[in-house]
């Protein structure tokens, strides 16, 4: 199972965190942008090359201490197909450095179309009888509003998915917290995730069908941990969104396993807060990633 690979990388690195690669231009140091513009012009091609270079330096500086990266597709798509090409190259580079790659795409659609998305991020497309991978990540995030039809196509590749259950943003409760038969809607989503995942449980007792549960709602995180004993949690909302180490403890099982905590801006933009030279942005990211790891391990008493 793909989730076994992630669990083993977390164990090997001693680090249950993932760095979100959300590289919008305002996060990229000027010296990288200037070089990219000089080489590729100051349009979308230049922007795409700037974010790719930013990512490569971050991956080079972080890959020995983190198990995984989570590129957020939106920050690539905003720079057009050129940006999407940078996403592709980022995924390939991260994999070449031994990192597990979660494509944060939150895709969702009817069955035939979900199949195409699954092919795009996890599988291979049929091109004239030859099977070719497009983005070839290890896992993808998906939205469950369309039900089983939109999920099953992602389960054909021995890779993992993380289904949105309770998201980290302020308005997540508008639909997710509505009460259905005495339980919150997110608990109904959780029950679906359990049922989708039951045939994909690996040797560490977690399923290839994971869940996204936000760090910013620690009580719900605790409830959902109990309701989903075999579901691995991808937990966004740490750092810039407000979640701290104590907030995420309840995402983990009694052995300190079963979850990976994501931070994006707080790590990749650490250089902006620490008054370091822009040239040292990746060192600042490394320092922040180590602090995050240590804060979480301390909270977990590991």
């Amino acid at each position: 199972m793909s989730i076994d690979k992630l669990i083993e990388l977390i164990s090997k690195k001693g680090n249950p965190t993932v760095v979100g690669l959300d590289p919008k231009m305002e996060y990229v140091p000027d010296f990288i942008i200037k070089k990219a513009f000089a080489e590729h012009g100051n349009g979308l091609e230049g922007a795409a090359n700037a974010i790719l270079q930013f990512n490569i330096e971050l991956i080079d500086r972080l890959h020995d201490i983190i198990p995984a990266v989570k590129p957020q597709s939106a920050y690539y798509e905003m720079y057009g197909w050129q940006g999407v090409k940078a996403l592709h190259k980022t995924i390939q580079y991260a994999k070449s450095k031994g990192l597990y790659v979660i494509a944060d795409v939150k895709r969702n659609d009817i069955g035939t179309t979900a199949q195409a998305y699954a092919i795009a991020y996890l599988g291979k497309a049929d091109v004239g009888g030859v099977k070719l991978p497009a983005f070839n990540a290890d896992a993808a995030t998906v939205n469950a509003y369309l039900g089983t039809d939109g999920i099953e196509p992602f389960l054909q590749y021995e890779k993992a998915i993380f289904v949105l259950v309770k998201t980290s943003n302020p308005s997540s409760g508008e639909l997710q917290d509505l009460t259905v038969d005495g339980k919150a809607l997110y608990s109904h989503a959780a029950a679906l995730v359990n049922s989708w995942g039951k045939d994909f449980i690996g040797k560490h007792q977690y399923s290839d069908v994971g869940a996204v549960v936000g760090a910013t709602y620690p009580k719900q995180l605790e409830t959902l941990r109990k309701e989903m004993p075999h579901t691995f949690f991808l937990v966004p909302g740490y750092g810039a969104q407000g979640g701290g180490a104590d907030d995420v403890v309840s995402a983990f099982d009694k052995n300190g396993q079963g979850a990976i905590i994501n931070a994006s801006r707080s790590v990749i933009c650490a250089y902006k807060k620490s008054n370091c030279k822009p040239e040292d942005f990746s060192l600042a990211a490394r320092k922040e990633a180590i602090k995050m790891r240590d804060d979480i391990l301390k909270a977990l008493k590991l």
Copy 2:
């Protein structure tokens, strides 16, 4: 308001239908694939060029009789960034022919990330102080599971969005039909759509915040039409998914307005059913698009 532009194009063409451009390779006639492979190799670049050529011929043959096209992003993403480049070119070509373009991307995320998606499909990215459009569609589809944070960023560009309310697929009820306070969840989503849209109502009394409601659930379509008097409906599920002309009548208001009906496979793959020469695929699509238009106008008694 952007929705006014769509309504006026529907009126001008006398056709409340949109053709879904979902060009997977198995839909593309062999003669196009052979030419694309000869010119661009038999990899993702060749595949991307084949689907682009397929789209161009469809647009050339259909643009005078239809008001809009709806490219489904999944069918481009499955061919990698090369496919996404074909999506970009398809959108630009359709716009150059006067068509309204709905990017069917069903994006959803927390506020800062939704902002990046909104920039990608409707707005312009800041690249070194210059604002550059990425995909520049007229409208996009979005998923509301994250609530207001994930929707508001899309409302800054004087363009339209279509929010998933009740989708056309068989399992859509697993979450969407759950009962909350005596009403289906999709009705709660509908109420959110009404509130998001109330400040964006154009001169034809419809809002730039539209809704996706499937043709395959005609009763729910009827209920939602009443609950959402100012919401323009994008109605998928016609044709290959099983919805017929009588099923979609209730999507429209008493003046025969307020909705656009999508068909994808039944139109773009019409040549496979009609025993026509593959070289005439776009003629078969035109014939099917005219039949669909006439069937719907007849059902509407217009």
